[in-house]
Symmetry: C2
Subunit: 144 residues, 2 copies
DNA sequence: GTAATATAAGACCTAATAGGTCGGAGTTAC
DNA sequence: GTAACTCCGACCTATTAGGTCTTATATTAC
């Protein structure tokens, strides 16, 4: 239902931590996982994937960990989603290669792809740096 | 991974059929399902849901079927998605009522909600009528 | 050199839910 | 009235996201 996976959520939290809070910009998967109560092994897998995409740089060994692979201002939400969940697709029939059962008779494919492109551009124009800027919008709700 | 469900795809196809191709703007779930090779009962369930939301009007009995509940120009993609899949949410932690495990420590919730609102506005500005306008973009690929 | 700590990578299990199925109840045409 | 057709709502199943476990490999501190 148009939701990004939990893995992406976790990856986003981790990147944001590396960008804003981690001492010297470095932290191990274990430290980050404990900080946010995320299963360690799962976050590790996410970090590995992001390392493969170059979003983070991995340093093995004692006092190792992960650091951002490039400036936070050059990492977009689209980069993160695609790194973890693969290429963005809002329809079941992904690309030209795997046509779905309704390919021949489908009347809404082209319009939907345009919608996808518009959503993609939203993700592409949101950078990690912007998300870290915490102009916190704490709603001033008062409970009596 | 940010994908809308097959049900939504099917619902969209059905609505588009009612809007553009159905004789007198009326068709039964069976007819539509056969037209697009969709499991009849599944489409029936989708149509039911959309009937509850008022997107389509149901007519029981012989020669019955479904018709659009209101003008195609007033039905947005957001209406359809919300009718079938429920309120749009891109994160696991939906609304204020059900906080996720990371609620307290989550640093990306507010920015993500802004992203959600931007995506929502994309869906809200795309109407069924626009999607039906088939300025067909058939790619001129030639196979030798 | 060795022990400790870190990532890397793969198989594997489980629980949520999207996808699909079934029998029944209501309407209409004749 | 009855038969044919429709919608309707509960039920089941198969896929996959989410999470776990194990082993291997690299780096650093001592």
């Amino acid at each position: 239902m148009l939701r990004l996976s939990k893995k992406t959520d976790y990856g986003l939290l981790a990147l944001n931590y590396l960008a804003s809070e981690a001492p010297a910009g470095v932290a191990s998967a274990r430290v980050i996982a404990e900080k946010y109560d995320i299963p360690v092994e799962l976050l590790a897998k996410v970090m590995q994937q992001m390392a493969r995409s170059g979003l983070v740089a991995a340093h093995k060994g004692a006092h190792g960990g992960y650091a951002l692979g490039r400036a936070a201002s050059t990492i977009t939400l689209a980069d993160i989603v695609e790194s973890i969940d693969g290429p963005l697709a809002i329809t079941a029939c992904g690309r030209d290669d795997d046509p779905c059962d309704q390919y021949g008779s489908c009347t809404v494919r082209d319009p939907l792809w345009k919608v996808k492109d518009r959503i993609l551009s939203v993700l592409q124009t949101t950078t990690l740096a912007e998300m870290g800027d915490k102009e916190v919008h704490v709603p001033l709700t008062v409970r009596i």
